[in-house]
């Protein structure tokens, strides 16, 4: 019964990419831990780029500088 939460910045993650994240994360706990996929939940959170900071800097400013 794993519960997997994937938090990423909200930058146009496509439906197909979400499908792959759900599939890949489920497969990971099934393969490594032998878990039952039927009780494995994956939740993806897309976080606004103003709401995530790393190295004391807002992510929206990090990507602007690139």
């Amino acid at each position: 019964m794993p519960y997997i939460n994937i938090k990423v910045t909200d930058e146009n993650v496509t439906k197909e990419q979400k499908r792959e994240l759900i599939h890949g994360a489920t497969k990971l706990v099934v393969d490594v831990l032998g878990k039952d996929p039927r009780t494995t939940h994956v939740v993806i959170d897309e976080v606004n780029i103003d709401n995530w900071g790393v190295n004391s800097t807002m992510y929206s400013e990090i990507i602007k500088e690139k």
Copy 2:
């Protein structure tokens, strides 16, 4: 001082249902654990149906098949 987080798929949860979730979750920890309701917090997260997966399948596809 409990903190209760309820994650559900975003499928038109009404304001009245949210009120009942907040009331019921608070009552639960007050009744079972004797907690003080004044420091009991309940946060409801409504998750997009493309962002939740179970059994390796996106929830939006699970409900389409029904």
Copy 3:
């Protein structure tokens, strides 16, 4: 497919109380939202009383003053 996380301070929560929390939280989302209990997960986190603060004060010190 709700996922409910209940965080409380670690103060001798008994197995019977945990059973009631799991039962009550599941019943809440079944009754209010019509969710399927078979995909409803409840996770209880017991947090050390030195690791929770409210009103800028460590919980272990709040209960000592009482």
Copy 4:
């Protein structure tokens, strides 16, 4: 490598305030624990005022009564 999550009600938090939260939370773990800011992540969640309850009451109703 701290990960800091700040959940607040969604009430017009400005970009400048988010900047200060990211900066202040990072500085806190750098100053107190000697952590490396480059691997310190801060995520701010803004929660709808209907989705947060305290003292068994929806936050949107608490602020209406004031």
Copy 5:
């Protein structure tokens, strides 16, 4: 800068399995989303089998019945 949290029941997950979970979850977001592994964090929570419930039943009782 993804942050991935994997919650599983605490049932003797080995160090090698944890290594595989960290490696696999990182690879997933690198492969699917093109994220930088250097800012990808994976946190594994092992939850006591009395503290996880599904279908209104404590996990420690579910596995006893098997």
Copy 6:
């Protein structure tokens, strides 16, 4: 009513350091957002060094190499 969760690796964080984290995080949301400290909760999670990974590597192995 902010809720702040600070996740750090479990490396002998002292009681005094926890006090400073609780105090500093509360002060941050009071100063920046004008929040009421009495409903501000801070929870510190100390994560086993085998259970946190960054850059695809277990933290316990990262610090061994230093």
